[in-house]
């Protein structure tokens, strides 16, 4: 039996000066790199494939398979790009990882670049996290000084340079092709696929783009073997992942567990929903993943079970809201976010998100009528499936799922002539039940 929590990536976060090279090496850091450099790159790809690791950035695409799509006979340089844009509302795992243990990521970048035969890698970090950027910059500098980066790494003949790149505020730059545009110094608007980045990515060269947590998981797989990794998790969702609990729970924070743990187990560990309150709705993996309710507490949090429940595992960003929270207010705010972040490239999303906000805002103020709910769902249908990238689809998730589960609450705004909830009761500092 595997334990309920399995700290691997988070294991050293509590250590003194965990971000420094000496602290990281003291707990075995960069040993996996030594081992990887003695292996054939293709065997590394095979190991990652066999581990069953699937992308931790939300999409769940098998990482080893992505790497194997890089055409090695293509004479152009190959690139690894780490997606450290972490901006999906609710998602808060990559940022603490890079702040506490940036070397886990850097070691992962070196091994992964070696596997796909890239000599240049980029870490694209959202710009709004200054101290995290400092820590990653310093880790890269330390790694150069120690000979883990640069030319002839560990005497292997392999060369690698890493550039740490700060973004400038745009949720859409988390979408992998928009990220490449940003990294090429352009407006962050998604590219038409195909060609996929594996064939023509950065500078039209073969490029692997992976999430921070995906790449940070690689050293542990190399060190402990693919069977070790796949001994955790469920049948098709292998390994461990960081689950991020936020909102109306007694101990919000990061919980690293095998995929397939349930929200009930996690809430228990987190000391329950705040005193005197009950769970009302939650996101399994960020605001773009359809909402669930207290009926779904016992579903395994893995890719398949979330898909079967009509939602997605996403980034395991578990935002928990209790019964004091107005779901219409919550959904309106997310929708305003999508409207603001729409890159404007395609009409269904650019115009559609604007209309969604209009309709929702009227409903929230109790100004609409019941047929506006159908109008809202209609508007969603015109965006879903017609948008150029997944941002547009994601914008419809909170709306359609909340109407499905909480139709009456929308109607209550109309009969009440406005929001029937007291927003003050939901706050962390409300006398009604703060956790601190």
């Amino acid at each position: 039996m595997v334990d309920t929590l399995t700290p691997v990536l988070t294991k050293n976060w509590g250590q003194d000066r965990a971000w420094t090279l000496p602290a990281y090496e003291a707990q075995g850091g960069y040993k996996a790199l030594e081992k990887a450099l003695s292996m054939a790159p293709d065997d590394l790809i095979t190991a990652v494939k066999e581990s069953g690791l699937r992308g931790r950035g939300g999409a769940g695409f098998p990482t080893g398979m992505k790497w194997s799509f890089i055409p090695q006979d293509n004479p152009k340089p190959k690139y690894l790009v780490v997606n450290a844009d972490e901006s999906e509302p609710g998602t808060c795992k990559d940022i603490p990882l890079m702040m506490a243990s940036p070397h886990t990521l850097v070691e992962g970048v070196i091994i992964s670049s070696f596997a796909i035969r890239a000599n240049k890698a980029f870490i694209y970090i959202r710009g709004e996290v200054l101290h995290v950027i400092r820590r990653v910059q310093a880790a890269v500098a330390e790694a150069y000084a120690a000979g883990h980066l640069g030319t002839d790494i560990h005497g292997s003949g392999y060369d690698l340079d890493i550039v740490v790149h700060a973004g400038a505020g745009a949720y859409i730059c988390g979408e992998e092709t928009a990220l490449l545009e940003g990294l090429e110094g352009r407006r962050g608007q998604p590219r038409l696929r195909p060609p996929f980045p594996a064939v023509a990515g950065l500078y039209a060269s073969p490029t692997v783009i992976n999430n921070v947590e995906s790449i940070a998981s690689v050293p542990s797989i190399v060190a402990n073997g693919p069977e070790w990794f796949s001994s955790m998790g469920t049948e098709k969702s292998k390994g461990f992942g960081i689950f991020s609990l936020s909102g109306h729970v007694n101990r919000p924070g990061q919980y690293e567990a095998p995929l397939g743990i349930t929200l009930r187990e996690l809430i228990d560990l987190a000391g329950g929903i705040r005193e005197g309150h009950q769970l009302k709705f939650w996101t399994p993996g960020g605001s773009s993943t359809p909402l669930l309710t207290d009926e779904h507490l016992d579903l395994p949090l893995d890719f398949e079970s979330m898909g079967a429940a009509g939602t997605m595992l996403g980034t395991r960003a578990l935002q928990l809201f209790d019964e004091t929270t107005c779901v219409v207010r919550a959904v309106l705010r997310w929708t305003e976010f999508y409207k603001h972040e729409s890159c404007g490239k395609c009409t269904p999303c650019r115009e559609g998100t604007w209309w969604l906000v209009q309709t929702l805002a009227a409903l929230e103020q109790g100004k609409g009528r019941e047929s506006d709910l159908d109008l809202l769902l209609d508007q969603c249908e015109n965006i879903l499936g017609r948008s150029f990238c997944a941002l547009g689809d994601g914008a419809t998730s909170p709306i359609s799922s909340s109407v499905k589960f909480f139709r009456d609450e929308y109607l209550a705004h109309l009969t009440h002539g406005g929001c029937p909830f007291d927003a003050a009761a939901s706050t962390a500092f409300s006398p009604a039940g703060a956790s601190v």
């Binding site: 695409f61 710009g127 996290v129 060190a223 001994s231 909102g247 924070g253």
Partner: protein, 253 residues
């Protein structure tokens, strides 16, 4: 007014980090902001000239990203997260309090030029909600009262420390670090805040760990993935939520 030689050289240096100069544009604009206090026409022209593109192209990029400011920013850029989770947990109340306390609206600067207030989107710190950012450093678990104290301290020039980071610098100094010029504060602050460690602490209390390492060797026993990567990828795309848009999925069927 043109940019000084040192800034010009540093912009060239940034462009030189990349296989193609234009890739340096985002960090270059951060450097422009650190020197000029905003993205100025002179800054745009200098970037354009170094990269070899038109000022209009640089301008088009600068207007796309929210961190680039056209109007002068105060000494400190104070952000309140009002995305849903933080808003519900108290971010809305904090933002309202600060607007009236500072007598400014969203994206406005106090008369004394010390503080620019804005609301920000989810800053990947939801487990510390409600969250504020000062010059892109975390201020966790805020209340209306602690928010007022924070801006009052900043206004009188008192030293303030991030709740899980270093002593705060100014917004301009922060922009310089984002451009890739470290300021020596990396070793300040803890490795992690309290919420980042809760799972780890429970695991330690209960003796929970990841499984012990098995002898590494041949990969038998591991589930074999199909040898045909294309068919395998099609299967996975179908079965799992991916980046594929709903439209692409329909097409594939």
């Amino acid at each position: 007014m043109t940019l000084d030689q040192k800034t010009h050289d540093e912009l060239v240096e940034i462009a030189g980090r990349y296989p193609e100069k234009r890739s340096g544009l985002l960090p270059m604009l951060h450097l422009v902001q650190s020197v000029e206090g905003r993205v100025t026409p002179e800054g745009i022209e200098t970037c354009a000239e170094i990269i070899g593109i038109s000022p209009a192209e640089v301008s088009g990029v600068a207007t796309f990203y929210t961190m680039y400011k056209r109007r002068p920013v105060g000494d400190h850029l104070v952000g309140v997260c009002t995305n849903t989770l933080c808003a519900v947990m108290g971010g809305d109340a904090i933002f309202e309090t600060l607007k009236s306390h500072l007598d400014v609206g969203n994206d406005e600067t106090t008369e004394d030029g010390t503080i620019t207030l804005e609301h920000v989107e989810c800053n990947a710190a939801c487990d510390y909600a409600p969250v504020m950012m000062v010059n892109w450093e975390f201020m966790d678990n805020m209340t209306p009262a602690s928010a007022v104290q924070l801006v009052d301290d900043l206004r009188v020039g008192k030293e303030v420390t991030s709740t899980r980071g270093p002593r705060l610098c100014t917004w301009r100094e922060a922009e310089r670090v984002l451009a890739g010029f470290p300021d020596g504060r990396v070793d300040e602050g803890p490795a992690a805040g309290a919420a980042s460690l809760v799972g780890l602490e429970i695991a330690a209390e209960r003796g929970w760990t990841a499984p012990a390492t098995q002898a590494s060797g041949a990969a038998d026993g591991a589930p074999k993935t199909s040898d045909d990567p294309v068919a395998e990828s099609a299967r996975v795309e179908q079965e799992s939520p991916t980046d594929t848009t709903a439209a692409e999925k329909k097409e594939a069927k």
